[in-house]
């Protein structure tokens, strides 16, 4: 009773504690940042470029998996968005580490229906909801995100918004911008799912941080690869591609 009466105070105390610890070091690790924002009711994930939708979805799913524990993962999306970038593939989801019997999916008619369904799901205890916001002319309003935040706060559930629209003002506690990262495999083989995560904003601590992450499908954790990014930039990969013309089109990739 006491705790539920003063959740805001309790939370802010924890945030201050976390942020003071983070500030004491030069560069916080991903796990430190994640634990600081993981309990937050609302987080946002967006692709950093239009071609990174799949990477953002992968990151959002893994975030939901980490947050859910043993609970249900609820996934709502407008139908139109489902077809735009392909349907969720059951075999792929299983190989990503997502047990299908813990997934509850809503293929909504419209964005409004998807948001309504998410709100209903957030009112169910022990649920982690993932709601995809499809690119439409009018981006999601601050009020809509605030509604989700309040519902999640009230019922102590967590919500992840996958924002494929032009994300503007939002009530979310953190926002991650995700792009695909080169995987690490032997020779020319592909490695585990990898992401470049950029923490754009964070109400609970420092932001503008970059992480290079690899998803562990067995342990449901991210492994950071410190220095991997720099190695790649130094030309470890570029060497393998030597002699290949750099295409100008790539820069204008849309």
């Amino acid at each position: 009773m006491l705790i539920s009466d003063a959740p805001a105070a309790w939370r802010s105390a924890r945030v201050i504690e976390n942020s003071s610890r983070l500030e004491s070091r030069d560069k916080p690790t991903f796990d430190e940042v994640r634990t600081a924002v993981a309990g937050a009711p609302l987080n946002e994930i967006m692709p950093s470029a239009p071609g990174d939708h799949a990477a953002a979805l992968g990151f959002a799913l893994s975030w939901a998996l980490m947050a859910a524990g043993d609970g249900v993962i609820f996934w709502a999306a407008p139908e139109q968005d489902f077809f735009e970038d392909g349907l969720p593939n059951a075999e792929g989801l299983v190989q990503f580490g997502l047990p299908l019997d813990r997934l509850l999916m809503v293929r909504a008619n419209s964005q409004i229906d998807a948001l309504w369904a998410t709100e209903q799901a957030l009112a169910t205890p022990e649920t982690t909801a993932l709601c995809a916001i499809s690119p439409v002319k009018k981006p999601l309003s601050l009020t809509a995100t605030r509604r989700l935040l309040l519902t999640a706060e009230k019922h102590k559930t967590r919500c992840v918004l996958l924002r494929l629209d032009s994300a503007g003002a939002s009530a979310a506690w953190s926002r991650w911008s995700i792009s695909a990262a080169q995987s690490q495999g032997l020779g020319r083989e592909l490695g585990a799912p990898s992401f470049n995560a950029h923490l754009v904003r964070n109400r609970a601590g420092p932001c503008e941080l970059n992480f290079n992450l690899e998803w562990d499908i067995h342990g449901h954790v991210f492994r950071t690869q410190e220095g991997r990014l720099d190695a790649a930039m130094d030309g470890a990969v570029a060497a393998a591609l030597a002699g290949r013309p750099v295409d100008a089109d790539e820069r204008s990739a849309a």
Partner: protein, 487 residues
């Protein structure tokens, strides 16, 4: 059931019986002219050349009768159509709701008459007697004590006998039921037939008569008849709340819950609107029931089409299941709450429709585009395949329903692509694994081409699932497609 005659001409309905057009129904004016059913159409035309004759439509008649039967369900859930133009209502225990038997008969008659039908009604202790009194004689309400006396005065025709049996009895000079009511059983049955004996027993209630209602009566239901017709959704919901409370009290008393509900609104225009509501678990909580009903009605209020309003509403528990009481977990573990989950699914289903809620399911099919199916949330999932040891995905996270063509260049005809252009963006392939050959289903697509799948990663780290269609003659360039995206 007579339609209004277009002018002052007598109206008859005829049908083809044993290769002759025979009158099957006529209006009052026609019968005043001396016409009767069973007369041939030619004879009738000879008597009245200006006759308006229409051919019978038995199917339309049956449909109309069913419609009237549906409307009559406002009086009792047990309504038995008795074709060609009768309805039997079992009003046992219902009459007090309408202010007594007499008032019930008057109300039913008045309402059906107002809709333009000729109607006769009677209430009697047995279905056979009700049949008899509604067709012959003037008695409207007959109770158990006076049944024998009243029946005795009726002619034999009131017994629903076979034509041969009634002809025989007429020949023997037996004209009223009173003459045979106490006849010795054995000789009577031997002469008139077992059927006549049975009919006589049924009309007196000595033998049971099985009736097949229009729809099986709901095990439990709640009914509200309204003084004034209601039009607005708010009013409908207030009535629905009362019905939910009623029904749940009945369910609770039996320790059971409803799995399928039917909300029936009886319109002033003599039409019936029905809303069905399925639940994922047996429920006897009026609050939950009402909330779901509100969602369900709220989706399409215009579909109810209130028009002139509703003057009665009924809530049926169509499917009833026992509620298993589970022990209350006082120290719940974190994890899934099956009850809350079921409620969530119910809420979503009521508003969005069952088709939109579920989960992708893995089918053990070789063709990747058919390995996905959509399963309802409550279905059991099959045993998931083991995870990849190395943590690398072999199948994409998202799969295009239709593979999208790309322009690709490969270093060797059989090798992986070096670069490809998809959606006008050029991708340089840095990593590639393959080929993985997936041959088409020989049964479904015997002429389909085999596909060589490659998992590739471009310079930006984006991973794709590409395939090359197997080409038979090496003359044409191989065609490449992108079929899915990896995380």
């Amino acid at each position: 059931m007579s339609a209004a005659p277009p002018d002052n001409r007598p109206l008859v309905i005829y049908d083809k019986i044993r290769n002759a057009f025979t009158l099957t129904a006529l209006d009052r004016q026609a019968s005043a002219c001396g016409l009767h059913t069973g007369m041939s159409l030619a004879d009738a035309r000879a008597i009245r050349p200006d006759l308006a004759a229409h051919e019978a439509e038995p199917e339309a008649d049956a449909k109309l009768l069913d419609q009237i039967a549906a409307w009559c369900e406002r009086f009792t859930p047990v309504v038995v159509p008795d074709p060609p133009h009768g309805l039997l209502l079992n009003v046992t225990g219902c009459t007090h709701l309408f202010g007594g038997a007499a008032s019930l008969v008057t109300k039913a008659e008045r309402r059906i008459k107002a809709a333009g039908f000729a109607v006769r009604a009677a209430i009697a202790p047995t279905p056979g007697a009700a049949w008899a009194f509604s067709r012959i004689g003037t008695s409207k309400i007959v109770d158990e004590n006076e049944l024998q006396d009243r029946l005795a005065a009726l002619p034999i025709a009131a017994l629903r006998l076979m034509p041969e049996a009634s002809a025989l009895l007429r020949r023997l000079g037996l004209k009223t039921i009173g003459q045979i009511i106490n006849a010795p059983r054995q000789p009577f049955a031997a002469r008139a037939g077992q059927n006549a004996m049975l009919r006589l027993d049924q009309v007196l209630g000595r033998a049971p008569e099985a009736l097949t209602p229009r729809r099986p009566p709901p095990p439990l239901f709640a009914l509200r008849r309204l003084v004034e017709p209601i039009l607005t959704m708010e009013a409908i919901l207030i009535v629905a709340e009362a019905l939910c409370t009623d029904l749940c009290a009945q369910l609770d008393a039996r320790g059971s819950g409803a799995r399928l509900l039917q909300f029936i609104l009886f319109g002033v225009d003599n039409r019936v609107r029905t809303v069905q509501l399925g639940l994922s678990r047996a429920e006897c909580d009026p609050v939950i029931m009402l909330r779901l009903l509100r969602e369900r009605l709220g989706v399409s209020p215009e579909a109810l089409d209130a028009e002139f309003g509703f003057d009665a509403a009924r809530l049926d528990a169509v499917e009833i299941a026992q509620i298993m009481l589970r022990p209350v977990d006082l120290a719940p573990k974190a994890g899934r709450d099956a009850e809350a989950e079921a409620r969530l699914i119910d809420r979503l289903t009521a508003r969005l429709g069952a088709r939109r809620i579920g989960r992708p399911q893995l089918d053990l099919v070789h063709a990747p585009e058919r390995a996905n199916s959509w399963a309802a949330p409550n279905t059991k999932t099959s045993e998931p395949p083991a995870l990849m040891q190395d943590g690398v995905m072999r199948r994409p996270l998202r799969l295009f329903p239709q593979a999208q063509p790309v322009e690709a260049i490969a270093s060797m005809p059989d090798g992986p692509p070096m670069r490809f252009r998809w959606r006008r963006v050029l991708h340089d392939v840095v990593r590639a694994e393959g080929p993985e050959r997936i041959t088409p289903d020989w049964l479904r697509a015997p002429h389909g081409r085999a596909r060589d799948y490659y998992r590739v990663e471009d310079r930006n780290g984006r991973r794709f699932w590409l395939y090359r269609e197997d080409f038979h003659d090496r003359q044409e360039a191989p065609r490449w497609y992108v079929h899915g995206l990896f995380a």
